[in-house]
Amino acid sequence: MGLDNTQDCSRSVSNIIIDRSRLKRNNYILSLLQEGQRVGAITSKKAYQIQGEIMQVLQQLIRKYTQGKSTSVTSETAEDIMVSLIYAMDVYVLHFNNPEEAIVHLNFESIKDIHAKGVELLRQYYEDAKQLYQEMKKID
């Protein structure tokens, strides 16, 4: 799974102007969706589809959590899983150079892929941090 699929959408980026003051660092993807809709870069139909896909991925993660042994979890557990899902998606959309580019990706990538790529980025960041830590220890 490649993380860089920007070639196809580069020309669409110039058509979108995002008000950065409306974006939130926490729940970045959700604020991006709202802002994308406001400026007309994301249709309400697409936003509805994205919400549906987020719920589908959440359901898959909950099933993974219960290992298929239970069909229900506490609301607290479901919310924790939701927070981790949003966090991983935020990491992916934040890795683009600008929010306009991120919006283009939101329009053509599935939420399942966005989440998977976010998780992969987090794994990479974790490995990088570990390596940096080892290098720091050597300096001491």
Partner: protein, 158 residues
């Protein structure tokens, strides 16, 4: 964020879930037990209320399906109280689900309820509720014991 309302099954008259529940009538009608679409609506509305009351989120209707499949074959299940009894069973199930802290599989909880319902409770839902409260209490005590922490928590439910 209220995920309970978003994720818990919403009733649509011709949804697959309703059709799946209706299709169980094929099996249960042998015992003279049949659910109408209105009965299913009552069961699902009650299920959503119980899930909300117990602060739980459920992805499908498998528990309700399993309760119908398992308890419809009970000699104590009466036609006139079929829906009310199923609602009581749903409430007991999700009570147990919470009290056992998600450490026991759905099907094991249902089979344990069924064993008591058909055994010492002789079809009394009130007695079943009381027995399940006792079981949940014992489960919690066991959980606090070091042995149970290491030897697995589900043994009492096998």
């Amino acid at each position: 964020m209220n995920l309970s309302d978003i994720l818990n099954f919403q009733l649509l008259p011709k949804s697959n879930s309703v059709m799946e529940l209706l299709s169980l009538n094929e099996k249960t009608k042998e015992q003279g037990l049949v659910l109408t679409p209105d009965d299913i609506k009552t069961l699902v509305v009650f299920r959503n209320k119980v899930l909300r009351d117990y602060a739980r989120v459920e992805l499908g209707i498998e528990v309700l399906q399993e309760l119908i499949k398992v308890f419809s074959s009970s000699p104590y299940m009466e036609k006139d109280h079929y829906v009310d009894t199923l609602n009581e069973l749903q409430e007991i199930f999700y009570y147990l689900r919470n009290e056992t802290e998600d450490k026991v599989e759905d099907i094991k909880l249902i089979m344990k309820m069924n064993d008591y319902f058909n055994g010492s409770c002789a079809g009394s839902v009130e007695l079943l509720r009381s027995k399940m409260e006792e079981l949940a209490e014992n489960f919690k005590k066991d959980m606090m014991c070091l042995d149970s922490l290491f030897e697995g928590d589900e043994s009492a439910w096998d």
